[in-house]
C-alpha cells in the first residue's frame, strides 16, 4: 500500500522533471535530466518490488544501476565536443 503510493509519487517527480528536458538550455541539462530519471526509475522499481510482491525486480534495478553511466559517458565522449576546435577537417 505505502510502497505503491511512494512509487506513484516518484513517477510524478519523474514526470515533473521532464520539463527540464523540454526547456533545458544546453544539451548537458537534457542529458543529466535523463540520468536523474535513471535514479528515480530505479527507486520506483525497488519500491514496486515490495508493492507488487515481485522480488525479481531487484535484478532489473541492479541492471539499471550497472548501465547508468553508459549513456552519459557516450554523451560526453562522443557527442558533446568542443565546437571551436572540433576534429572534422
Amino acid at each position: 500500500m505505502i510502497h505503491v503510493a511512494v512509487a506513484l509519487f516518484l513517477l510524478l517527480t519523474v514526470v515533473l522533471g521532464m520539463i527540464r528536458i523540454v526547456y533545458g538550455p544546453t544539451v548537458a541539462d537534457r542529458m543529466m535530466a535523463a540520468q536523474l530519471f535513471g535514479t528515480s526509475g530505479l527507486a520506483i522499481l525497488l519500491v514496486l518490488a515490495w508493492g507488487m510482491d515481485m522480488p525479481e525486480l531487484i535484478d532489473i534495478a541492479l541492471t539499471f544501476s550497472l548501465l547508468a553511466t553508459l549513456a552519459t559517458m557516450t554523451f560526453v565522449r562522443r557527442v558533446w565536443y568542443e565546437e571551436g576546435k572540433s576534429d572534422d577537417s
Binding site: I2, F9, T13, R20, M32, L36, W50, I58, S65, A68
Partner: protein, 100 residues
C-alpha cells in the same frame, strides 16, 4: 507489524523529500553546475534512505547484499558522470553562475 518494519517505513518516508528536492532543484537552479549538484546529491541520499528502509523490511541476506550493491553502483555512476559532465562543461568554457 514488527518494529524494524515500522522503522523501515519511516526511512522510506524520510527519503521522499530528497527525491522531491532533487527534482525541484533541477527545475529551479540557474545553471548546469548547480543542477548537477542538485541531482547527484539529493537523489542519491533519497535512494540511500529508501534502500535502508527496504533492507529493514526483508530478512533475506542475499537481497540486502543486492540492495547495498545497487546503492554503491549508483553512487559510483552518478559521481563519475557528474564529474565528466562538469569537466567537459568547464572545457567548453561554460562559466559557473554567480550572484552578479
Amino acid at each position: 507489524m514488527t518494529i524494524p518494519e515500522i522503522i523501515g517505513l519511516a526511512c522510506i518516508a524520510a527519503g521522499i523529500p530528497f527525491f522531491l528536492s532533487g527534482t525541484i532543484g533541477m527545475l529551479r537552479f540557474p545553471d548546469i553546475f548547480t543542477r548537477l549538484h542538485a541531482l547527484t546529491k539529493a537523489d542519491n541520499v533519497g535512494l540511500g534512505f529508501l534502500i535502508i528502509g527496504l533492507c529493514l523490511q526483508t530478512d533475506d541476506w542475499f537481497i540486502v547484499i543486492k540492495l547495498v550493491l545497487i546503492w554503491v553502483l549508483v553512487l559510483t555512476a552518478s559521481s563519475a558522470s557528474c564529474h565528466l559532465v562538469a569537466r567537459r562543461a568547464l572545457q567548453k568554457g561554460i562559466r559557473p553562475w554567480t550572484r552578479e
